[in-house]
């Protein structure tokens, strides 16, 4: 198996799907001539030409709307937001058009579109450019929300997203583009949407982590193993539809849960997972579900404060010790 970066994995996924289906095309700011602000679309313009790799003006609502229209007439657009922070401008198209069209047309239109790009924190890009917006989109029925944490998941899930007939919000993590990992080869190696993955098995506590938090949770588990605490790390991979069964299975085994997330805590995905754990596994809990979330404050610019705003290994270790009553 080849070891490649997440950046390369995403690039491969788009390339392979564009080869496979001529209706797939990519549109966004700087995706063509500049080959992507983060070089995810490297080489695609050269390979597929400017009809299928299209530089848009700086107008998120506009090109998101063009994508929805193209999807309605049978194309399979991939819309890249330079970052998901800018997708805020396009929410009317994503939520009011893409998410609703199939329902409101009585099934006459399907919307096979992918909105993708980096979300979450980067390095010192401050409050407006460091947001984790998954809970916004996951709130709405009609949209699938995917957040990969490894190059293999990124490739397999993006391919599934492109082949999916419903709108998919595909949130990458800017800090993770350079992360390397083994990626299985083969054009039809897919990772199904809506299936969680147990990244590490354990017996004493479960950390439910997504995206950037997965490698941090794995490091915390490593650390805790040295202290004699066996931690299971579950990565839902898809936020909506949420694979609560896998999470509940893990909770029934370990009885203790920490939810790690980069986003703000209030009304976050962690809150939803926590509520569902109580609904489905209350009798198996040995204590309250503990969330470790990003700070409930705008992301600071200052490097030291930024570090404090994002959950780290130490905080996860402390939280696991807390739910396991070891403090």
């Amino acid at each position: 198996m080849a070891v490649i970066t997440m950046r390369e994995a995403l690039n491969q996924a788009m390339r392979e799907e564009m080869h496979r289906d001529e209706n797939v095309f990519l549109m966004g700011e700087e995706v063509a001539a500049y080959q992507g602000a983060y070089k995810i679309s490297k080489g695609l313009l050269e390979e597929f030409g400017e009809k299928r790799v299209i530089d848009s003006p700086i107008t998120e609502l506009g090109f998101a709307g063009l994508g929805v229209g193209a999807a309605m007439v049978g194309l399979r657009p991939v819309i890249e937001f330079m970052t998901f922070n800018f997708s805020i401008l396009a929410t009317d198209q994503i939520i009011n058009s893409a998410a609703k069209m199939r329902y409101m047309s009585g099934g006459q239109f399907k919307i096979p579109i992918v909105f993708r790009g980096p979300g979450g924190s980067a390095y010192q890009v401050s409050s407006q450019h460091s947001q984790a917006l998954e809970s916004w989109y996951a709130n709405f029925p009609g949209i699938k929300v995917v957040m990969p944490s490894t190059p293999a998941d990124a490739k397999g899930l993006l391919k599934s997203a492109i082949r999916d007939d419903d709108p998919v919000v595909f949130i990458e993590q800017e800090r993770m583009y350079g992360n390397k990992g083994e990626v299985p080869e083969g054009e039809d190696v897919l990772v199904p949407i809506g299936v969680a993955d147990v990244k590490r098995e354990g017996t004493d506590a479960t950390i439910v982590a997504r995206s950037l938090m997965v490698p941090i949770a794995l490091k915390a588990a490593e650390e805790l193993a040295k202290q004699g605490v066996s931690v299971e790390v579950v990565d839902p991979r898809t936020i909506r539809p949420l694979d609560i069964e896998t999470i509940v299975r893990s909770v029934k085994k370990t009885n203790r849960v920490v939810i790690a997330e980069e986003s703000h805590p209030f009304c976050g995905v962690g809150a939803e997972i926590s509520a569902q754990i109580m609904e489905h596994a209350f009798d198996y809990l040995d204590g309250p579900v503990r969330r470790v979330s990003g700070a409930d404050a705008p992301m600071p610019y200052a490097k030291n404060l930024e570090k404090l705003a994002i959950p780290d290994v130490e905080r996860l270790v402390a939280a696991v010790r807390e739910v396991a009553y070891l403090n």
């Binding site: 009885n255 009798d283 198996y284 809990l285 040995d286 204590g287 009553y325």
Partner: protein
């Protein structure tokens, strides 16, 4: 020296108290030990006493007001002393928290052991006083007083080092038995994690016997695991008592005792000591699905206690003769037929545990001894004093007790523990010439025996009409616990023994 008078902890579960009445007025002189006020707790009305002498300078809580544990209710000081700083602290509510904490600390420092010991050996009245003193009634402005109190309280139990962080999560609980808060600290509420509750139910472990090691004494998974591996409930209690009295040898738990498989039919659970002194120990067995269906269906028909009635005729000649013989032996003995019935019923109850029981919604409570409530008519109505462990007492002893209890009942001088907690009752209207009647069950008991008049009747024996002393009894049964056949078998035994009282000798 100015002293706060605070709402004392007058019962183990007390979180707040209602000041029912002040016994002193502002400006009155008070001495140490003098009653200051009456306080209604969750359990009873009690007197709060002054722990400092001086003048009752300020009353902060009026009669009828309810305040939390630790709240400052008054200030005692010298007549001309400045109490303004104490007043403002009390009014800001800051003092309440501090006092509450120091009360709790002193309770913890004394350990549950100290309290349990007191509760066991000291009669009721004295316990109250000891509790008030041990648990910090007043805190001086300086912290010296509070410290003294916690020290004197702790000398009652054994001294424990201050709370230290747990080093292992080994068998029992790292925060120390007794040093860690009892799980029932939150106003008597047991705090248990869901998985721990589930595991305890499955393993048949009594949560009340455990000390939680989680925050606020929460009972968590590892506490149940420890209890299971140490041989469950009895061992857990033993662990507690050894912690408080280190010199005593630990209670032995039989190694052969099955650890988890209890609960179902397998083996009855051990008896638990009741809170009322002298009352019968009991064990709670989970209600079976069938029994809970019977309970639900029958309650919806005759509710809330679905009665049914069983009547039998008993030939009392031999019993009457026994009574005559016994009374002739000793002029002091004044045994009545009813005394004999009490004894025989108690003996029959021990042979029919299902009748010596009580329906508890989720479980059926079985009593170890037969505590018989005897209905006594008094002017205002009726009261049922209890003959404890009648199965183990002689008829003469029962007779003396009943006479003494009945006398005090008519004088309205019975203590609550003397007329509550019976496991079975008997009501006799024979002296009024009633042939038979049905009595109403006194919940939570499962049955009551209504006894009619004994008298000569013509009956057929071996084909001949003969005269016999006949008495009719009717038992009212709580159908949620007792089924027809169960009740009938009990009455068979009762009848058999009364007709042949020599069975009492077997």
């Amino acid at each position: 020296m100015a002293t706060q008078v605070v709402m004392p902890k007058l019962s183990p579960t007390m979180e707040e108290g209602q000041l029912t009445r002040w016994l002193k007025n502002e400006g009155d002189k008070v001495g140490v030990g003098e009653p200051l006020a009456e306080i209604d707790t969750d359990k009873a009305t009690m007197e709060a006493q002054a722990l400092a002498s001086g003048v009752l300078r300020k009353i902060l809580v009026g009669a009828g007001e309810t305040v939390p544990l630790g709240a400052v209710i008054a200030i005692i000081a010298e007549p001309d002393e400045d109490i303004s700083s104490l007043l403002s602290k009390a009014e800001s509510g800051k003092a309440t928290e501090e006092n509450k904490k120091s009360i709790e600390e002193s309770v913890n420092a004394g350990g549950d052991g100290a309290q349990v010991e007191l509760a066991r050996v000291v009669p009721d009245g004295a316990r109250t006083q000891a509790t008030i003193r041990g648990e910090a009634l007043s805190g001086d402005v300086g912290s010296a007083d509070a410290t003294d109190q916690s020290q004197s309280a702790s000398s009652g139990g054994n001294q424990r080092p201050p709370q230290s962080p747990p080093t292992t999560q080994a068998a029992a609980n790292p925060e120390g038995n007794g040093q860690g808060k009892r799980p029932s600290d939150g106003g008597g509420r047991l705090i248990v994690s869901p998985i721990a509750a589930r595991m305890a139910a499955e393993a048949g472990i009594n949560l009340q016997s455990l000390t939680g090691t989680g925050p606020s004494g929460r009972i968590v998974k590892r506490d149940i695991e420890a209890a299971i591996s140490s041989g469950a409930t009895t061992a857990a209690t033993a662990a507690d008592s050894t912690a408080t009295t280190p010199a005593a040898p630990p209670e032995e738990t039989p190694v052969t005792q099955p650890q988890i498989a209890r609960g179902q039919a397998a083996e009855p659970r051990p008896f638990i000591a009741p809170s009322v002194e002298g009352a019968s120990p009991y064990r709670d067995e989970p209600v079976s699905v069938m029994r809970s269906t019977i309970a639900r269906r029958l309650t919806s028909s005759i509710g809330p206690v679905p009665h049914f009635f069983l009547t039998t005729e008993i030939e009392m000649d031999r019993a009457a003769e026994l009574r005559r013989t016994l009374n002739a032996l000793d002029a002091e003995l004044k045994i009545s037929i009813n005394d004999l019935i009490i004894k025989v019923a108690a003996v029959a109850l021990t042979q029919h545990p299902m009748v010596n029981a009580s329906f508890q919604e989720k479980s059926v409570r079985f009593y170890e001894s037969a505590d018989i409530g005897v209905a006594v008519a008094i002017e205002e109505g009726l009261i049922t004093p209890v003959v404890r462990s009648a199965d183990r007492k002689s008829v003469g002893q029962i007779s003396r007790e009943v006479r003494e209890l009945a006398e005090r009942a008519r004088a309205r001088k019975l203590m609550p523990e003397e007329y509550t907690g019976a496991t079975f009752s008997i009501s006799n209207l024979g002296m009024f010439g009633i042939d038979d009647f049905t009595a109403v069950i006194n919940p939570p008991e499962a049955a009551i025996l209504a006894v009619g008049a004994m008298g000569p009747k013509a009956v057929v024996r071996d084909g001949e009409v003969v005269v016999r002393q006949i008495m009719r009894v009717t038992m009212s049964c709580d159908h949620r616990v007792i089924d027809g056949a169960t009740g009938a078998k009990f009455l068979q035994t009762l009848k058999k023994i009364l007709e042949n009282p020599l069975y009492l000798m077997t």
